[in-house]
C-alpha cells in the first residue's frame, strides 16, 4: 500500500542524505521525496512517498525516527488527509488537436501556462492518481516533457505536524 510519510527534520547540511541513505542502505523504495524549509527556518519538512507491506512501513517509520536529526514524523495514510502534487506537461499541438486538448485540460482543472505555435505547457495539481489520469487521457505521442514535483500532503482537521 502507498504511504505518505511527513517528516520534520533539522534544517542541517546532510539531513536529506541521511534519509535518502537510510532508504538505499536498507533496501526500501522511495517513490517520491520533496523537501523544503518550513515557517520555522531551523526545520525542513520532507514528504516521502513509499510502498511496502505493513511490516516494512513499520520498520521504515522506526528507522526514520532513529535518525538523530528527525524531530517528528507521521504517516499521513493513518488518518484522513489531503494529497497534492504539481505537474507541468509540455504537449505538442496542431490546429486540429488544440481545442480538444483545451477541453481535456479544463475537465482536469488544469491551466495553460505557455502557448506557442506547436505546443502548450499545462500546469496541473491534484492527487498523484489524478495526474496519472490526465497523462493517460492525452495521446502519449504528443507529450514532449513531463515534470512532477512528487506528492506533498497535510492531514485534515485541526491536528498538525509541528513541534
Amino acid at each position: 500500500m502507498k504511504h505518505i510519510i511527513s517528516i520534520l527534520i533539522e534544517n542541517e547540511a546532510g539531513a536529506l542524505s541521511r534519509v535518502a541513505g537510510l532508504f538505499s542502505a536498507r533496501g526500501y523504495n522511495i517513490e517520491s521525496l520533496t523537501v523544503a524549509v518550513t515557517e520555522d527556518p531551523s526545520l525542513s519538512r520532507m514528504t516521502l512517498v513509499t510502498r511496502g507491506s505493513e511490516d516494512v512501513i513499520a520498520q521504515i517509520i522506526k528507522q526514520l525516527n532513529k535518525l538523530i536529526d528527525v524531530v517528528k514524523l507521521i504517516d499521513l495514510a493513518d488518518s484522513p488527509h489531503i494529497e497534492r502534487e504539481l505537474m507541468m506537461v509540455k504537449i505538442k499541438t496542431t490546429e486540429q488537436t488544440r481545442n480538444d486538448l483545451r477541453s481535456v485540460v479544463d475537465i482536469f482543472r488544469g491551466r495553460i501556462l505557455d502557448v506557442t505555435a506547436n505546443s502548450y505547457v499545462v500546469e496541473m495539481t491534484g492527487s498523484s492518481e489524478k495526474l496519472d489520469a490526465f497523462t493517460s487521457a492525452i495521446n502519449s505521442d504528443s507529450i514532449i516533457e513531463v515534470v512532477r514535483s512528487g506528492a506533498t500532503g497535510i492531514s485534515r482537521g485541526e491536528q498538525g505536524l509541528h513541534l
Partner: protein
Amino acid sequence: MELSGAQILLQSLADEGVEYIFGYPGGAVLHIYDAIFQQEAVKHILVRHEQGATHAADGYARATGKPGVVLVTSGPGATNAVTGIATAYMDSIPMVVISGQVSSPVIGSDAFQEVDMVGITRPCVKHNFLVKDVTKLAETIKKAFYVATTGRPGPVVVDIPKDMTAPNITVPYKYPKKISLRSYNPVVHVAKEQIKAAVELLLSATKPMIYAGGGVVLGEASAELTDFTRVLGYPITNTLMGLGAYPATDKQFVGMLGMHGTYEANMAMHESDVIIAIGARFDDRVTGKLDEFCPYAKIIHIDIDPASISKTIKKIAIPIVGDVKPVLKQLLECLKENKKQPNKKALDAWWQQIDEWRAVQSLEYDRTSDLIKPQFVIEQLYQVTKGDAYVTSDVGQHQMWAAQYYPFDKPRRWINSGGLGTMGFGLPAAIGVKLAFPEADVACVTGEASIQMCIQELSTALQFKTPVKIINLNNRYMGMVRQWQEFSYQSRYSNSYMDTIPDFVKLVEAYGHVGIRIDKPEEVRPALEQAFAMKDRTVFLDIMTDRTENVYPMIEAGKGHHDMKLRVALGTSMDRELA
C-alpha cells in the same frame, strides 16, 4: 577564558572525564596534537594504524562502560578508522571519534588528504557532525558524548576542519553541563500494563526460556537479570554478546544459543512455549532459518531500540521498549506482587527434558588426542586465570571456542566483535582493556590469520606497557573458512591456507616481547602459567593446534534450531566415532 579550537577540544575531553585518547597524528590534526603536547589531563595512546585506535578505544569502552575516544587525521587516517567505527556500531558500543578535516575553505576541492568523512561514516555511526563554527565546538563535543552514551549506545564522529583548531583564533570556552536535543529523547517510560501482561504470560508458561543478549551488559543490568532468573527458576541462554550477563557456571544457564550454541540451548528455544528476549535482537546467527525459529513460542521482547522489535522475528506477543535495567526491576516488582507462582510441575518436567538434552554433551571433544585440541587450550586458560580474566578475541573458530569453553561469570569480561565480525579486533582491544584495568589478567584469544590483521599493535603494547597474553590457536588455516569449505564446498579449500606463516616467536621478539611456541598438549598448561606469571611482559603463545578441528555444534545456513550438526551424531557411541 579564551581558547583556541584545539585547546577547546582537549579541555572538553578533560571536562568530559576522558582518560585516554587512542590516535595517530597527521596534517589536519597537527594543531590538536600540539595542544595534546601542552596538557596532561588526557593521555594519548599512539597506535600503529588507525584501525587499531578504534578497536583499542572499543575494548576500553566494552570493559569499562565508558565511551572510547579516538583521534585520527583526515583522508586515509579517517578511512582507516571506518572498520573500527562499523565494528562499534554493530555492537552498540559508545565511542566518540574525532577526525581531522581539511580547512573549511578548501572542502570540496579534492584537497590533499580530503575525504567526505561525514558522508563515508553516515551508515555506520549513530550520528555525526561537521564542525563549521569554532564557537560551537564545545557544545558539539558535549552533544557527541551525549548521543554516543545514551539510549542504544553507538559511535559518533566529529569531523573538525583544520582551521577550526588554529592557534591564532581564540574564543570564550564554556563546557555545557547538560545538553538536550529536541530531535533526540532517549528516555522511555514503560506502561505498567505491558509489564503486567508480560508477567502473566511468563507465569502461564510450561516450557519457558530466558534469552538475554548484549543489551543487558550495555545496560548494566546483570544483577537484575540474575535476580529475575533465579526468582522464576527458568532456564536462561545468552547470546554471543550477552555472555557474562548471567553467570555461566550457574545451573540455570544452558549455554550460548545460535549457530554454535549448545544442543540444550537451541533445543530448548525450539520447544519453548514462552520466550522472554532481554536486550537481544534476534540476529540471524541466533535465529537460523526464520520460518523455523521457535515455532511454539509466544515472545516477549525487551529492547531499548524500537526498531529492533519485529525487525526479523515479526510475531512478538508483548513488545516492551525500554532500558533493560528499570524494566527488569519493574518485572521483578510485578512478579513479587503477583500471587501466582511459576507452574512447578511443568517446570520440573521441562528441566528434566533439558537435562536429557544436556546429557548429549554437545561440547565434548576428543580428550585423548596427541594433537593439541583448541578446546583444551581454552579450558586450560580458564583454569590458569581462575575464570577471572578479561578475554578478547578475534573472529573465527577460536572466537567460538573461547565463547564455548570459557564460562564467563561476570559481564564485560568477554570482549569480541559479534555483529560485524572484524578480524584484527582482538589485540588492540586487549590493549584498551589492559589500560583500563592494569592489574587484571587480559588474554587475547586469536588465530594465526586474524592476528596478522592488526599485528603492528604489538609495538603499541610495548610503548604503553600493556602486558597482555596472546593465545594464538595456530591451525595453519583460516579455520572457520576451511570448516565451511569442508561442510559446504566438498573440502575445496580455496585460499583458506597461507603458505608462508611467519615465525611468530621471532616476530614478537623483534617487537620486544616474549614468544613461546607450543607443540604438545602437555606443554600447554605450564606455558600458560609461565605467561601469566610474567606480569610485566606481553607474551605470545604460538600454540600448534589440531589443523582439522571443527566448531560443534553447528546450525548450518538455512536450518532451524532443532537441526544441529553435532560432533557425534545422536545415537552413536562417542568412542566409536572418535576411533
